[in-house]
Amino acid sequence: MEIKTGDFRVWDEGSTIYFDGIMRLSGSEAYAPILDLMMNVLASGASTVTLNLTDLEFLNSSGINLLAKFTIETRRHPEVQLVVRGAQSVPWQSKSLRNLQKLHPSVTLLVD
């Protein structure tokens, strides 16, 4: 599955969800389809779900809220290992990704 606009692209390959571009959607309603995609991957029964954010240059606060909500959701699935890949060089990531680990300590954070 793939969600794509002129600014960004989100798609899944197996149990990895890739985020690419600049996401500046106006609210949680706008982010709902992406949350659906992520939930589908989570429900697919994979033992590891990876969020690859390396190429996501910008994510607004609603988007960060989405990641937080998803992380809180994975706490209900202890059998699923959540891996978040990010890049130190992207400002919002260096700031926000650590919150995900606070919300769910078993999250594996891989920041290049």
């Binding site: 500046r24 910008f58 809220n65 937080a68 809180i72 400002p91 919150n99």
Partner: protein, 786 residues
């Protein structure tokens, strides 16, 4: 309705003309190429054939000429050999008589008795000689100097007469057989040179007439000077003979008896002891016999032959040939001996003949040029030598090799070759004409065929073009008839369908316009309705936004409140985004305790505004309730918000940090953007708040994550609080303003009061954005220690 413009049936620019031109050119090229190749090959073939035929015919012709010359020579040799044989028989008989005297005497006596006319001679007073009378097989003449005083032969002469009578037995039969011979004879030795000849003629009388004075001179010396001496030399030294034979031949001379040109063949007879000459056996043949062999030569139309002595004297040639090679004849004028004929090649009027070498190029083809009526005519000549003979002409006997010459005009001998070559040329020209004719005929046929086919092929296109022109002139009733079933036919069908459709549409246009107008009206009404709805929706949304904006601005601290704060100079700026966001800042003062809050609610709109209002209310309540512990303060605020969010089923949260100021000391708590401090000496400090809390509203209990940090804040120091609307403000190239630029901007403006610093930074941010869309609320709080 205007009629379609008339089209020329076969204009130069028409498709048909091009079609015909292309096909014609292709066929022409093909024909010319194949024809040219064929012609070239035929030419080459004919040239090769002519060459082959020429070579073959030349070789054959030359072989033929050589063979002819050889055959002629062989024939002449044969004739001479036969004469030699006849003389050989006669001489053999006579020599055997000489070698057996007793038999000779017996035979002589017997013959004298049997035929006294053969041995009895009668004196002729007029001539002064004696001769036997008729009838006798042979005549025997006894010259005056062989008679005694009573005009009777000397006894030794008489003995010779009788001995020679044996000739009567042999000669007649030899004359009757073998080669045609004029006569055969015996001549005695020079001591008694009687002359017995068969057949009988008036021999002495003829001699008297032709050779006066002979009766008083020695026979051999008179008639054949030198011949006798040569024979005598041969006896002494046989190796001195010019050839292996003793047989001697004379050059042609006029015969005393018959008056014809003759050639004599002599075979000397030897005495028993082989030391002297006992006489001579001889025979004469007419030159005609030899001449006829070469004179019979007839090659092509005017080819001829000649027989020449080695000295160039031509002994036989036909009169025409004589004319061709320009011989000049003169009677032999030497006063001595037999007279002959003088007609030499050396004196011929044709230079090519005069310079002809008889001792060279035996049997070879020679090309010469003869002058005929003032023009040069090429001739072929073949010379072939006869077998060598001992020849007496005058004086000692010499070796002689006669030559046969064959002369043919080249044009006659090569007539067949020329005919063959002409035939080939004729055939080639005929093929050439046929080929050109075939090409022209093919072109005509192809042209006619292409013309008729092109009419059929391009007829459809022409009809289509005409119809299209009429269609252009708005004659929609036009239809084309394309009988072919090819692509043109398909185009025709499509055209007809199109024309029908155009016709239909044109006729129904008015009705269609009505229908479409009606549909458009309906659509317009629909759009108007929708527009109305949208307008009301927009109004509703606009009202909502207005409310949200009012709420947001409503709860912010008033400038007066800020000014009243002791020790600190505070200035604040908030600019809501196009869609209202949820930025929050507050300055709460209560009994000298000052609490500054800064936060950012996720999302936009009324909900965000309400959440911000809740945060402000709870913070104010906790402040009023005297909660001084920053951790508990944040924890209680989070719990209240979390539960309210749960109740309102809202999935929002916010970042939120508080600064508690007391006695030049700030206690920092909660997670938000970095805090920037510009010290009085210009040093810049950036303080990360990530580890001081967790976003509010996400978790029920955030106590484990809440931490505090103490910061000195003294006179001259400036603190910047802001939301991400500042750092993430983008310009047209999507470059964010960023924390670095914020620090630089603050540093530049640090010396002003809080209001001036705030205004300077906001101006820098706006300059960076440069009119681009503002995505998020921009909030900046500048706190300066007085």
């Amino acid at each position: 309705m205007s009629s379609a413009p008339s089209r020329p049936l076969f204009g130069l620019r028409s498709f048909r003309a091009k079609f015909v031109l292309v096909v014609g050119a292709a066929v022409l090229f093909d024909l010319v190429l194949s024809g040219g190749l064929a012609l070239w090959n035929v030419q080459r073939l004919s040239r090769d054939a002519a060459l082959e035929v020429g070579q073959g015919l030349t070789t054959a012709t030359q072989d033929y000429l050589r063979s002819y010359a050889e055959a002629t020579v062989t024939e002449a040799n044969l004739l001479i050999d036969r004469v030699h044989a006849d003389v050989g028989v006669l001489s053999g008989v006579l020599q055997s008589q000489i070698d057996d005297p007793s038999r000779r005497d017996a035979v002589g006596r017997a013959l004298a008795q049997a035929g006294p006319t053969s041995t009895d001679v009668v004196y002729d007073a007029q001539g002064g000689w004696a001769q036997n009378l008729r009838p006798s097989p042979s005549v025997v003449s006894v010259w005056g100097y062989l008679l005694d005083g009573s005009h009777l032969p000397r006894s030794d002469v008489q003995k010779e007469i009788e001995d020679s009578a044996v000739l009567d037995l042999v000669a007649p039969s030899l004359l009757a057989s073998g080669a045609p011979k004029l006569q055969m004879y015996f001549i005695g030795p020079k001591e008694r040179p009687i002359f017995r000849t068969a057949p009988y003629t008036d021999q002495a009388q003829t001699f008297d007439r032709l050779y006066p004075g002979h009766n008083t001179s020695s026979f051999w010396t008179f008639f054949f000077p030198g011949i006798y001496e040569s024979w005598q030399d041969w006896i002494a030294d046989p190796a001195s003979r010019p050839t292996d034979s003793f047989l001697t031949q004379t050059a042609p001379y006029t015969d005393a008896i018959t008056g014809k040109l003759i050639v004599s063949f002599f075979q000397p007879l030897w005495t028993r002891d082989r030391t002297g000459i006992a006489g001579v056996a001889g025979t004469d043949i007419t030159l005609d016999q030899l001449a006829s062999i070469v004179e019979r030569v007839k090659i092509a139309q005017t080819g001829f032959g000649f027989l020449a002595m080695s000295n160039g004297n031509v002994v036989a040639i036909n009169p025409r040939g004589e004319g061709v090679i320009g011989l000049v004849s003169s009677k032999g004028s030497s006063g001595q001996g037999v007279t002959g004929v003088e007609r030499s090649l050396r004196t011929a009027m044709q230079p090519a003949i005069a310079s002809l070498r008889l001792d060279e190029n035996d049997g070879e083809i020679q090309h010469i040029t003869l002058e005929e009526h003032g023009e040069s005519v090429p001739y072929i000549i073949v010379l072939k030598r006869l077998q060598p003979t001992n020849l007496w002409t005058m004086g000692p006997i010499q070796r002689e090799t006669m030559s046969v010459g064959i002369v043919v005009p080249e044009r006659e001998i090569y007539a067949s070759l020329i005919t063959a070559q002409n035939g080939i040329l004729l055939a080639t020209n005929r093929i050439l004409l046929y080929q050109i004719g075939a090409i022209i005929l093919s072109l005509l046929l192809v042209f006619v065929a292409v013309l008729s086919v092109s009419k059929r092929i391009t007829g459809g296109l022409s009809a289509l073009a005409d119809a299209a022109a009429r269609l252009q002139a708005k004659d929609y009733s036009v239809r084309v008839k394309v009988p072919t079933r090819d692509e043109v036919g398909e185009v025709g069908l499509a055209f007809n369908r199109m024309a029908a459709e155009m016709s239909f549409h044109t006729e129904n246009l008015a009705r269609l316009v009505d229908e479409r107008t009606h549909e458009l009206e309906n659509a317009n009404q629909e759009i108007s309705g929708l527009n109305e709805k949208l307008r009301s929706e927009n109004l509703r949304l606009g009202a909502e936004l207005d409310i949200a904006r009012q709420i947001q601005m409503m709860v912010l601290p008033r400038p007066l409140e800020l000014e009243s704060v002791p020790e600190l100079d505070i200035a604040a700026y908030m600019r809501p985004a196009d869609e209202v966001g949820g930025d929050y800042y507050d300055v709460l003062e209560d009994d000298g305790r000052l609490k500054i809050g800064i936060g950012d609610v996720t999302g936009h709109g009324l909900q965000s505004g309400v959440l911000m209002l809740m945060v402000q209310s709870i913070a104010r309540a906790l402040q009023e309730a005297g909660e001084t512990d920053p951790r508990r303060f944040l924890d209680q605020l989070n719990r209240a918000i979390y539960k309210n969010l749960e109740r309102t089923n809202s999935d929002k949260h916010l970042s939120l940090a508080f600064l508690d100021y007391e006695n030049s000391n700030i206690t920092l708590s909660g997670q938000h953007e970095e805090i920037v401090i510009i010290r009085g000496d210009g040093a810049i400090e950036r303080i990360d708040t990530i580890d001081l809390g967790l976003p509010v509203g996400l978790e029920r209990d955030i106590t484990p994550f809440i931490a505090t940090r103490e910061i000195r804040f003294e006179s001259g120091d400036v603190i910047l609080l802001y939301t991400d609307g500042i750092t993430e403000a983008e310009n047209a190239r999507r470059i964010m303003f960023g924390i670095e630029r914020l620090c630089e901007s603050a540093f530049r403006h640090r010396l002003g009061n809080a209001e001036e610093i705030k205004a300077g930074i906001v101006a820098d941010v706006m300059a960076h954005i440069d009119g681009c869309k503002i995505h998020d609320d921009i909030t900046l709080v500048v706190v300066r220690h007085r």
